[in-house]
Amino acid sequence: MFLELQFVLPEIGLLALAGVVIGLDMTLRRAARRSLGWVTAAGLAILLGVAVWSALRPAGDEILGGMLRADTLAASFRVIILAAAMLSVLLAMGVEGLADRGEAYALMLVATLGMCLMAAAGDLVMLYLAIETTSIPLYLLAGYLKRDTRSTEAGLKYFLFGAAASTVMLYGFSLLFGFTGETRLAAVAQSIAVGSMPRVLWIAAAMLVLVGFGFKVSAVPLHFWTPDVYEGAPTPITAFISTASKAAGFAVLMRVMLTVFTPAVAPYWVGVVVAMSVASMTLGNVLALTQKNIKRLLAYSSIAHAGYALIGLVALSPLGVASTLFYLGAYVITNLAAFAVVIVVARIVGSDDIAQFAGLSRRAPMVALALMIGLLSLAGMPPFVGFVAKVFVFAAAVQRGYIWLAVVGVLNSIVGLYYYLIVLKVVYLYRSENEAQPLPVTAPYKWALGLTMLGILVLGILSGPWFDWAIRAAGSIY
């Protein structure tokens, strides 16, 4: 029992930390509450260390009666999620209406807890609980700025879409349980393999479940909520949803699709996921072209990135799983860097319009450089991590003979480059009246930018050990 609990140490820590933060929120004076962000971030940093330690230990098997799987894949996703949460908390520390609210930090911690459990869930019941533990705090956080109509709209929209997707997914779960009589993923898979369930029904179940997961990762056609919610939610929360929540979504997507609907039955659903991947890449990139608001642009770009990451899933190979995992790590760290710059700028200029970035390179050359590195990494340019990540997913596709899919991905990355360059053009080329004014960068943002830049470069240049890690994680499924 104790050994089993060792694996869930970060989750226990998250719960304790959330309690501590709420406790401090009630006892501290208002002015002192601003430092709650540091407490949360420091706590998450420690938990991140624990999670890394646990990911490096030899993988275990099912724990807590099969509720969770203590494997390297789960542990690796947990590292990504905790890192994203830590950086998002840093980003929240300068935003009015979030920075001095302990409950906001606590909600982020609870959502993080849910995501970590999502990544490790080995049972349908646990999986559903984890997804809801993640979603409900995120609905609240998206609508957290009560006086901002766009934020409340985002919260409501996210909630309605999320609840609908969740019920559809739950219906899929109920089909699986009803026919197989099992809730443990491994047992469900075995039962399907021996034919306990008519083919039509398990294909239907696979599709229903895909709706729920597709919503979480914002893949087309379940992406409709993304632009509005990303635009309306407080930016640190947008950053959090677009990185940690998406990574957790991919964790369950890969685990359920690859272990429950095993390769033997895979041909029936892979076509659908291929279509989702192509549609996400294409639609996300094309719609991003015309965006005037940086948050909407990043929303559409995040839809496109979900499409790239799905390529690794359809490869149905260890290399595919590893490349998706690596891609998500790369995407999370890069997207957080981009959002950090967005917040730094928006705090001062008070708007998320791309036009407001004019003259940034004269006003704050280092911030402009950070934005450039972030966007280029998203576009897939070396020496940044986005390049190797893209090469790996395309390689996974080519390995399995999906050359056309790799070509579609490649063409899409050109469209992507175009709109990232448009933003950089505004930053570097256009002048503005306020370019002589300083653009102060406070300590949390210096940390966030420093850590993400470091991550982008280290993962991009010294990718070897990280990719080996991803390959080991893929061994949890294959």
Partner: protein, 490 residues
């Protein structure tokens, strides 16, 4: 361990670039100082590397190999042979002279030199890469900074359009080639990106026939191969002087070199199938480029299209599949690089003073800036293939090779040279001689000593190679040996 001279050459620019980016923006003197120092170091080391290559021994030398991504068989693997070494030297020369000529850049010089040097590392990196993945890694690093360099410091009228066009063209080319590289990786079954091992992979004939055009055209885009040359004149014209020099002088060679190294050398059977028709595209480059250059009235566009024409000669040499052709192409890459850098430097100097590049409006510049005029005439003679200058040394073997493959192509291509002679002489007469328009009288002065030094270095190299080709031709010939071996002595 031996002195890792190539690694130092590759990383000197990027280290300098990062240092420059970290300096305070107001310290323009320091920024330029670091830039000059770093480019001088890179040039000096390139010269040392150049002359320490052992020609009789041949093959790849100064090799260094460090595992990088072992799971993929990717390593940091560098080395030079007779084909890449002249290009390393070329990059050193262009970088050094480019810094001299950009001394006057006053808008954000920190970012300018920073990005320029990151670009330089990419270029050096591609030329010394012996690993396919690493080659792409550096290739993309070389492509991207171009966008900012052109968009920020370029010619106001077309810079945004040209920068975007150029970046997208080159990116498309490189990612298409990347898919080809991934196909090679998996088809070889060797689980390595090492090009020396992939050379021996023995890809099936069908595989080579399918993938050769993908890889060759992918890189050929950057080499300015017709019909994918369209980005290049626009890009050259919009770019600031030093970037045009880099761009036409070095980057286009990057495309040609990668097309050779990855396309022809890794997929030789495919090359033998496809190059006999690609030779006609290269012919279009030569003749059509020259004809378009002839009718341009913008000084810089003339030079831009002349690059398209001259790069066509490089491709012709490749497509001839003959020993002479490859030797000629190897020399032409170097010679054209130096020559076109010289041309763009001259255009920049004229434009900076006259504020127009419209040829009919210019005239009489030889009296005001004699050194520039002489340098341009030297470059012009090189461009026409005048014996005694590097152009002849390079173009003569190309024509020999093409003649042996397709005499008719050689004859038509020779007409391109005649057209070249015509437009060069027109420019010399209109821009440098004849009466100077009144509006320029009085306020047009001579160029700075740094400019003169840059022009001197470039002209000296062109003459030295023409008069005494023995310092480069045997080296290139030794590099061609390995290409010929792969092509099976075709």
């Amino acid at each position: 361990m031996t002195f890792p001279i190539l690694s130092i050459i590759v990383f000197t620019p990027i280290v300098a670039g990062v240092i420059i980016l970290l300096l305070p923006a107001e310290r323009k003197g320091w920024i330029r100082g670091v830039a000059l120092l770093a480019s001088a170091v890179a040039l000096l080391l390139s010269v040392v590397a150049y002359f320490s290559y052992d020609i009789p021994q041949g093959g790849y030398q100064m090799v260094q190999k460090i595992p990088w991504l072992p799971a993929w068989g990717i390593s940091y693997h560098i080395g030079v042979d007779g084909l890449s070494l002249p290009l390393v030297l070329l990059t050193g020369v262009v970088m050094f002279t480019g810094v001299l000529i950009s001394w006057g850049v006053d808008d954000r010089p920190r970012e300018f030199f920073g990005f320029l040097f990151i670009l330089a590392t990419g270029v050096f990196g591609v030329f010394v890469s012996l690993d396919l993945f690493q080659l792409f890694f550096f290739y993309e690093i070389a492509v991207f900074p171009m966008y900012l360099l052109i968009a920020i410091w370029g010619w106001q009228k077309t810079r945004e359009y040209a920068a975007m066009k150029l970046t997208l063209y080159l990116f498309i080319g490189s990612v298409v080639a990347l898919v080809g590289a991934l196909a090679m990786f998996f088809a070889s079954g060797l689980h390595t990106f090492d090009m020396l091992e992939l050379e021996r992979a023995g890809f099936s004939g069908a595989f080579q026939r399918i993938w050769f055009p993908v890889v060759f055209f992918g890189f050929g885009v950057l080499g300015g191969l017709f019909p994918f040359h369209n980005w290049s004149p626009d890009g050259h014209v919009a770019a600031p002087t030093a970037v045009s020099m880099f761009h036409a002088g070095v980057l286009m060679k990057l495309g040609a070199f990668a097309a050779l190294r990855v396309g022809i050398m890794l997929l030789p059977e495919g090359a033998k199938v496809h190059l006999p028709w690609i030779i006609f595209l290269a012919l279009v480059n030569v003749v059509y480029g020259a004809l378009i250059a002839m009718v341009q009235t913008d000084f810089k566009y003339v030079i831009g299209f002349s690059s398209v024409s001259h790069m066509g000669l490089v491709m012709l040499g490749f497509a001839s599949l003959s020993r002479e052709g490859y030797i000629g192409s190897g020399l032409q890459m170097f010679s054209h690089g130096v020559m076109t850098a010289l041309f763009f430097a001259v255009v920049g100097m004229v434009y900076d003073r006259a504020h127009t590049r419209d040829i009919p409006k210019l005239g009489g510049f030889a009296r005001k800036m004699p050194v520039v005029a002489i340098a341009f005439i030297v470059g012009g003679l090189v461009s026409m293939g005048m014996p005694g200058l590097s152009g002849f040394v390079a173009e003569f073997p190309i024509f020999l090779g093409v003649w042996s493959a397709q005499p008719i192509v050689a004859i038509i291509a020779a007409l391109g040279i005649v057209v070249t002679a015509a437009y060069i002489m027109i420019i010399v007469r209109r821009v440098f001689f004849g009466p100077m328009p009144e509006e320029f009288e009085g306020h047009i002065g001579d160029v700075t000593p740094l400019d003169k030094l840059a022009l001197g270095v470039l002209s000296f190299i062109l003459i030295a190679l023409g008069v005494f080709p023995a310092w480069m031709a045997p080296l290139v010939a030794s590099g061609v040996n390995s290409v010929m071996r792969l092509l099976g002595g075709a």
